[in-house]
């Protein structure tokens, strides 16, 4: 119980998600509890906060307390600023990076059929949702982008697998041209 109280205080004070391991490292070397004990304490906390207005949840970079979503309409009123809105173009770019990573800017442009502004990439990088994973062995050595843990955290996901499934591409079995060119136009 004491361990649970300590971990609770640490998680609340941390201002960022913490993994089991990171919680362990907050303890002085000789007093570090076992990971299993920390996990048990975390599970206990998740349970203890069940009826409360906030919840302990696990996201990509670890455990964090957050306001329960059913209360967000009340809490939103605390802030004068509206939550940021993201354009369709930005979300498409982000979706391509999330689902198709690692991708170059050229890949994104191919899929979207439009040129991608540097601004958009920069915005995503500044939000720390994407990062450069490396550079492609190709002329110009373009950067390869991927998403970050912060991206998952922001969308309350713990892994990329939790993203909504991508619509499967249909098999292409085209009718012969002759038939199709006599269109009902």
């Amino acid at each position: 119980m004491e361990l649970q109280r300590i971990i609770e205080a640490i998680l609340f004070a941390a201002k960022r998600p913490l993994t089991c391991k990171q919680v362990q490292e907050v303890f002085p070397e000789l007093e570090q509890p076992d990971l299993a004990d920390i996990q048990a304490a975390l599970d206990g906390l998740v349970e203890a906060y069940q009826p409360r207005g906030i919840a302990l949840v696990k996201v990509a970079s670890g455990y964090r307390f957050q306001v329960r979503s059913d209360l967000s309409r009340w809490v939103a009123r605390l802030f004068e600023e509206k939550p940021p809105k993201y354009s369709k173009a930005l979300l498409e770019t982000l979706a391509i990076i999330a689902y198709r990573q690692p991708v170059t800017r050229g890949d994104i442009e191919d899929i979207r059929g439009v040129s991608v502004s540097s601004n958009m990439i920069q915005t995503l990088q500044e939000r720390e949702w994407i990062r450069v994973l490396g550079y492609k062995e190709a002329p110009g050595r373009p950067a390869l982008y991927g998403t970050t843990k912060l991206f998952l955290d922001y969308f309350n996901l713990s892994t990329l697998n939790e993203l909504p499934t991508l619509q499967a591409l249909q098999e292409l079995d085209l009718p012969p041209i002759t038939e199709n060119s006599k269109e009902r136009a």
Binding site: A98, P164, L174
Partner: protein, 272 residues
């Protein structure tokens, strides 16, 4: 997506195309001219616009009526151009591509070429499918509960917590490396050579100065310890000589054959 009226009375010229009044509106396409710009902004690019056109026909992408869709697409592009709406180059690239597909489909193809040459529609359909999947993924992403909108971070006050800042850690090897660097540099500077004095002498110099602190003077012999043996005595002696040379101590003898006394120079020890 907003529904738009199907047709216009065909007596009204919608736009001038190539100098001729443009009155025929393709099926299912009417947008008031002044809303065209706004309409275009609804799309993130030419693929999005194409998809819209296809979806309005209620046909599967796979069964895309190329000629019809191409015609409709061209009408938009034409209208935009006529209304001097600045159109992203991407839309024109798509127009050119569609035109190419259409023409290739009209050309008779030698029967034996069929296997090698890809159906010109295939690439377009593939791209449309790929784009559509991403378009839906982006919409799903928008729907996902997210921070600042559906979740809020929590914070507790930690201002009362005292944090002791840890001091830098230094390895002995770092220190030695630093000194090695100095020696190397010193060797290159001819005007200042570091004498290769035994370290023990320097240390003893410190000890002797320390010993003289707070006393008026000490007997010369007090600065030696017999327990250290011969080499210890030599070190102490060298240290005393060095201190004398550097003017840090004075050695005095009250009268001949009296004991030597050592004291720190006047300036020395009124601090620390």
């Amino acid at each position: 997506m907003t529904e738009t009226p199907e047709t216009l009375p065909d007596t009204i010229a919608l736009a001038m195309v190539n100098g001729a009044p443009f009155t025929q509106i393709p099926d299912d396409l009417y947008i008031p001219p002044d809303a065209l710009e706004v309409f275009l902004e609804l799309f993130t690019g030419p693929l999005d616009l194409l998809l819209y056109l296809i979806r309005r026909q209620n046909v599967d992408i796979i069964a895309i009526p190329i000629a019809q869709i191409t015609r409709q697409y061209m009408v938009y592009i034409q209208l935009m151009g006529d209304l001097k709406i600045e159109l992203a180059a991407d839309y024109l690239v798509m127009a050119a591509w569609l035109a190419e597909i259409k023409s290739r489909m009209l050309l008779p193809r030698p029967p034996d070429a069929e296997d090698e040459e890809e159906d010109p529609r295939a690439t377009l359909i593939r791209r449309l499918q790929e784009y559509e999947a991403i378009k839906y993924a982006a919409e799903a992403l928008e729907e996902l509960p997210r921070m600042e909108r559906d979740f809020f971070s929590v914070e507790v006050d930690t201002s009362m917590i005292d944090v002791v800042q840890a001091l830098p850690d230094v390895q002995l090897s770092e220190l030695l490396l630093a000194f090695k660097g100095i020696l190397k540099r010193a060797e290159q500077l001819s005007h200042h050579a570091i004498t290769k004095e035994a370290l023990s002498v320097r240390e003893r110099m410190s000890t002797i100065l320390e010993n003289l602190k707070g006393t008026d003077s000490r007997l010369f012999t007090e600065l030696f310890s017999h327990r250290e043996g011969r080499s210890g005595v030599v070190v102490a002696f060298l240290a005393i000589l060095e201190l004398g040379k550097e003017g840090l101590i004075e050695i005095s003898q009250a009268e001949p054959f009296a004991e030597l006394r050592v004291r720190a120079t006047r300036a020395a020890f009124n601090a620390t």
